[in-house]
């Protein structure tokens, strides 16, 4: 099959919480939407061409009825990525990842008495998809229950499947449009035994980001705007 993808997902840039203003070169009072538009404009100035939109979503299932009492509850995450529209990804945090076809969602409905869908925990990231030479950049607004919580930036270097071989190139490219906020090496790069990247690594990175967002939301309470 054609080029498998090597992807890096940047950390979230949250705009109007005081603690992360230092990481972002924007003026006080800029909203999530304004920052996303700013990033999109920067990419267009570089020469990137917009190619439609993307969406990554994550639903949380709570394993209620199983497991021995006293054990911490298990969370099963079911994710979808518009880049792989005929697939469904199911993951446990720091556990195995399953890539299945969309009927897996139907199976989760059958399992509803064992795994409850925590609908209020659904996280989605939607935005524009840009192509720049061999790179694909997706800048998305991450929302939890329809309220914007942050920004995700996914950068993909398409010709390469060996994660560690192109990390430096990815970092250099990101510096051209994310001036002050370039992330560290994603943890999934470190645990690869054969070094070959796969779509489930992308989903693991998104899950890490979404979990961070959820924790931040829980810590700071509701209102963000």
């Amino acid at each position: 099959m054609c080029l498998t993808l090597c992807v890096c997902v940047c950390e979230i840039v949250i705009v109007f919480r005081a603690r992360s203003v230092s990481q972002v070169p924007v003026a006080e009072g800029k909203s999530v939407q304004q920052t996303v538009e700013m990033l999109n404009r920067k990419l267009e100035q570089l020469g990137a061409v917009k190619q439609g939109n993307f969406c990554v979503d994550c639903e949380t299932y709570h394993a209620g009825a199983i497991g021995s009492p006293g054990q911490p509850p298990k969370f099963l995450y079911v994710m979808h990525n518009s880049e792989a529209p005929l697939s469904c990804f199911a993951l446990f945090e720091n556990g195995p990842c399953l890539v299945a076809d969309p009927n897996f969602d139907v199976l989760m409905i059958k399992l509803k008495s064992y795994f409850q869908n925590a609908k209020s925990n659904k996280v989605e990231s939607r935005g524009a998809r840009y192509q720049y030479c061999d790179f694909l950049v997706k800048v998305g607004t991450a929302t939890i229950a329809s309220s914007a919580r942050g920004i995700t930036v996914e950068v993909e270097y398409c010709p390469c499947v060996t994660a560690n071989d192109c990390w430096n190139l990815l970092m250099e490219f990101m510096q051209s449009f994310l001036p002050s906020h370039v992330p560290g090496v994603p943890s999934v790069f470190g645990v690869k035994t054969d070094g070959v990247y796969s779509p489930s690594d992308t989903m693991a990175q998104y899950l890490e980001l979404f979990s961070k967002l959820r924790k931040q939301q829980a810590a700071t309470g509701s209102g963000m705007r």
Binding site: A90, L98, N103, F104, D134, C158
Partner: protein
């Protein structure tokens, strides 16, 4: 790079109302060749496909009475092929004149991490077996003739012994709920296999 732009949400979910219509029978080893010969004549594919599959049946025990059963199957002779996960509901109790067993069916193709993933979900393997046989198609009808092998050492699919001196024959169709003409087509096809094999609807509950 021809990745198409995606402007709409991905297609999610499948049909929750797919039903499996099933008729089963068996033939002794001596009669297998005659049956395969007749099926070659009646069915679409000129040369039947042979398969060697390893199936594991997983149970999830919850607070409810009966456990949730899932069947995970993978090919031993085509190791690159995806794993196949199957959920089968209880047989529909209804029209006694309906010729086939009808039950809800959900089929999911999955990656090779399925076994570990099911264990992480809390499923435990109840039993496993190897199935070797042939698969025939006639339109939407699927006929599978196979022999079951018992696995002597757990996890070791090389070391097996036949479960019996016969082969299981299954005639099945996957169709949306409510299409009762399906069972008539199945009955007509089953008539053509008599007297080599008698295919009937066998309620699994009566065997327990």
């Amino acid at each position: 790079m021809e990745a198409p732009p995606v402007a709409v949400m991905p297609v999610t979910g499948g049909s929750i109302h797919m039903m499996e219509y099933l008729l089963q029978g068996s033939v002794l080893d001596q009669a297998l060749e005659s049956l395969l010969h007749r099926l070659r004549g009646l069915c679409d594919n000129m040369e039947p496909e042979s398969f060697v599959d390893h199936e594991m049946v997983f149970l999830l025990k919850g607070q409810q009475g009966s456990p949730f059963i899932l069947r995970a199957r993978h090919s031993l002779d085509r190791p690159v092929a995806p794993w196949h996960l199957r959920y089968l509901g209880q047989p529909e109790v209804g029209d006694k004149s309906r010729h086939a067993l009808v039950r809800n069916c959900v089929d999911v193709s999955a990656s090779h991490s399925l076994h570990d993933f099911l264990l992480e979900m809390g499923f435990r393997m109840d039993h496993e077996f190897v199935a070797k046989g042939h698969i025939f198609r006639k339109g939407a009808l699927k006929v599978v003739v196979f022999k079951l092998f018992r696995i002597l050492l757990p996890g070791n699919t090389e070391n097996t012994e036949p479960l019996s001196l016969s082969n299981l024959v299954e005639l099945s169709v996957l169709a949306p709920a409510g299409q009762d003409t399906v069972s008539d087509d199945m009955r007509n096809f089953a008539e053509q296999l008599k007297p080599l094999v008698h295919l009937d609807k066998i309620d699994p509950k009566r065997l327990m």
